[in-house]
């Protein structure tokens, strides 16, 4: 199904509003991400960033327009198929609270492989066992596997937790990684280090990255920088709506 010439994310004439009677918060004529592209998405609070991510991650469905991810039009999927599609194709990293505190680091990294046979198969593609691949990713994230593998995640610092979350998003090389302000709870020194680790591993996996942040200083490391205000034609989105950010 995947075609290398096609964009990994393609939104066409997408309109989304929270309910029928209000104006759309998001109206995007055209938005596309190429394969293996690293895109920095910025925009002030309430510009509809999280809404856009939710649409791409197939959590929300637009009232109008088409969204095609990795060659698959999302509108064709039923809700359970979307859940499966999401875990098969997309790695997610959030601002915080990415991990289950009662599971070990290794268990957290492997979580998506429990729910996706695709991810598990791809994690083991290069001849490594799932545990070996987990260790490799942890080492790549500079969390010495020997030391951290069996630790409960509740004992990690925030920076370590975010790196575990990245390892989890990357395992099984999903074609698309969505990161929603993963660095906002880190200090500025660790932010750049975090990005460097993320990028080096993305090169290996060949995944596309859609990275959302307020922090314009980080944008220089990315292939492309998009300001949501430039592509979102909706007027209501700029309202001080805290929920939407």
């Amino acid at each position: 199904m995947s075609n290398d010439n096609q964009p990994i994310v393609q939104l066409t004439d997408v309109h989304y509003s929270w309910n029928r009677n209000t104006l759309p918060v998001l109206s995007i004529h055209e938005f596309a991400l190429d394969r293996a592209e690293h895109v920095f998405l910025q925009g002030p609070s309430g510009s509809g960033k999280t809404t856009l991510l939710s649409l791409i991650a197939a959590v929300l469905s637009p009232q109008q327009g088409t969204i095609v991810i990795d060659g698959q039009p999302l509108a064709e999927l039923r809700s359970s198929e979307r859940d499966q599609f999401r875990v098969d194709r997309i790695g997610l990293v959030f601002q915080q609270f990415n991990l289950l505190p009662f599971l070990s680091v290794a268990d957290n990294v492997q979580l998506s492989c429990r729910f996706s046979a695709d991810r598990k198969a791809r994690a083991c593609e290069n001849g490594l066992s799932l545990d070996q691949e987990t260790d490799r990713l942890l080492d790549a994230m500079q969390l010495s596997a020997a030391q951290f593998r069996n630790r409960p995640t509740s004992h990690l610092s925030v920076g370590q937790q975010q790196r575990v979350a990245v390892a989890r998003a990357l395992i099984g090389r999903p074609p698309l990684i969505i990161a929603d302000e993963p660095t906002s709870s880190l200090d500025s020194d660790s932010r750049q280090a975090f990005l460097d680790l993320l990028f080096s591993e993305l090169e290996l996996a060949g995944s596309t990255l859609l990275f959302v942040s307020h922090d314009a200083a980080l944008a220089s490391s990315f292939d492309r920088r998009i300001d949501l205000r430039d592509i979102n034609q909706s007027v209501s989105a700029t309202g001080p709506d805290g929920e939407l950010r």
Partner: protein, 417 residues
């Protein structure tokens, strides 16, 4: 999934243990109530086997059964020896065991009888009494003690004991002029026989020679030698156990004795009297059972409330699971697994608690009433009870699971709490 559910539970172990404990206690209660009910019936039924009729002074049939066979309560009146002889001479009657009660030793009842007792009394599956040491009483001052008496008082064959009048534990007066020698110790039977001291009817008479109108005659009393020389024919006994030559004549004999003209007597069929007893206590049993069921329901309601209360704190956990690909159905399943684990844990702990309670209770019942409660594997009723608790636990878990399912649908991947 089971692993995730297990780890999640472990991270919330204090509430999990409380929920398990609540179920465990309710399961232990219901199993123990059921067990005691069943075993008490078995034990009572085992006590009289092979006895066709029990005869005593006219009173209630349940009362007669209780005091004659189970040694619970006291007789209101006696049967004169003339009537005993009369009954024994009836052609349909095979054997007669006279029972004479009313004295005690260190809280154990003294039972006056004759050698027919060892010949014809049967318990359990028609088993005869057997001796672990010594032999039947031979002399007026010989006594045969039950296993429990021997064990508790540490008596051995040839020890001397002094018998007291009355059946209380702290007897006011003791028949200390006439010490009895232990001639034999019976093997355990799991019936009130274990708690009895058996002497001959003559022995009972001998004890009371120096007693007139309920008080000791002043003076040195009569020596054992003088007593042996006396005529010790009993004047009355408390009850009779009767065996018939043919069971077919049982109702005819019963009617004959109930209409006996010389003395008001009552003959009962032990099985029917037991049935009457069960009918009496079944109301109490039912009440206990209802209370037990309510306690189980309370345990399950507690389980439900623990899971429901936990849901709000666990929205983040659910959101993380959703973001790594768990579907709402998985979240539902997760909660169901949790409640099942808690219920199964409760059932296992409840079984353990039940066995501890039974073991402790068995000791008490054995010592107090000579009733035997045996530790046994759960029978089909127990398994039905346990299965229904498990199913009820699963159903109770469905409600929080459904709630979690709905919430995780509505929350989506939202990380905002």
């Amino acid at each position: 999934m089971i692993r995730i559910a297990w780890k999640s539970l472990c991270s919330r172990w204090p509430t999990a243990i409380l929920a398990v404990l609540a179920i465990a206690m309710s399961v232990a209660l219901i199993l123990t109530v059921e067990k005691i009910r069943r075993d008490a019936r078995d034990s009572f039924t085992q006590t009289v086997s092979g006895t066709d009729l029990v005869i005593g002074a006219r009173s209630g049939s349940v009362q007669l059964l209780l005091y004659s066979v189970f040694r619970i309560g006291n007789a209101t009146n006696n049967i004169s020896w003339e009537s005993v002889e009369d009954i024994r001479s009836r052609t349909a009657i095979d054997w007669v065991i006279p029972l004479s009660l009313g004295d005690s030793h260190a809280g154990f009842r003294v039972l006056g009888t004759n050698l027919d007792y060892f010949e014809h009394y049967r318990f359990g599956n028609k088993r005869l009494l057997t001796f672990s040491d010594g032999e039947r009483f031979d002399d007026v001052f010989d006594a045969v003690i039950g296993s429990e008496v021997a064990a508790q008082l540490k008596y051995q064959v040839d020890d001397n004991i002094v018998v007291a009048h009355g059946t209380g534990n702290a007897s006011l007066v003791e028949h200390d002029q006439q010490p009895f020698r232990i001639s034999g110790i019976l093997k355990p039977t799991g019936t009130p026989v274990d708690r009895a001291i058996h002497v001959s009817l003559e022995g009972i008479e001998a004890m009371h020679i120096d007693w007139r109108n309920g008080a000791a005659v002043k003076g040195e009393g009569t020596s054992a030698e003088e007593v042996r020389a006396m005529d010790l024919k009993p004047t009355a006994v408390t009850a009779l156990l009767v065996g018939l030559k043919s069971r077919a004549t049982v109702f005819r004999e019963q009617r004959a004795i109930n209409t006996y003209r010389a003395e008001p007597l009552l003959a009962i069929l032990p099985g029917i009297a037991l049935q009457e007893l069960w009918n009496l206590v079944s109301v109490a049993e039912m009440a206990l059972m209802i209370v037990s069921v309510i306690v189980v329901v309370a345990g399950l309601v507690n389980l439900m409330s623990v899971l429901l209360a936990g849901l709000n704190e666990r929205r983040r956990e659910m959101a993380v699971l959703r973001s790594v690909g768990a579907r709402p159905a998985h979240v539902f399943l997760l909660l169901c697994i949790e409640s099942t684990l808690l219920t199964l844990g409760g059932i296992a702990a409840g079984l353990a608690l039940h066995y501890i309670l039974t073991a402790a209770g068995a000791l008490f019942l054995q010592q107090r009433f000579g009733l035997s409660i045996l530790l046994s594997l759960p029978n089909s009723t127990d398994i039905k009870i346990l299965a229904s608790v498990a199913v009820a636990g699963l159903l109770a878990g469905m409600i929080p699971a459904l709630q979690a399912y709905r919430k995780s649908l509505a929350d989506g991947l939202s990380q905002k709490i």
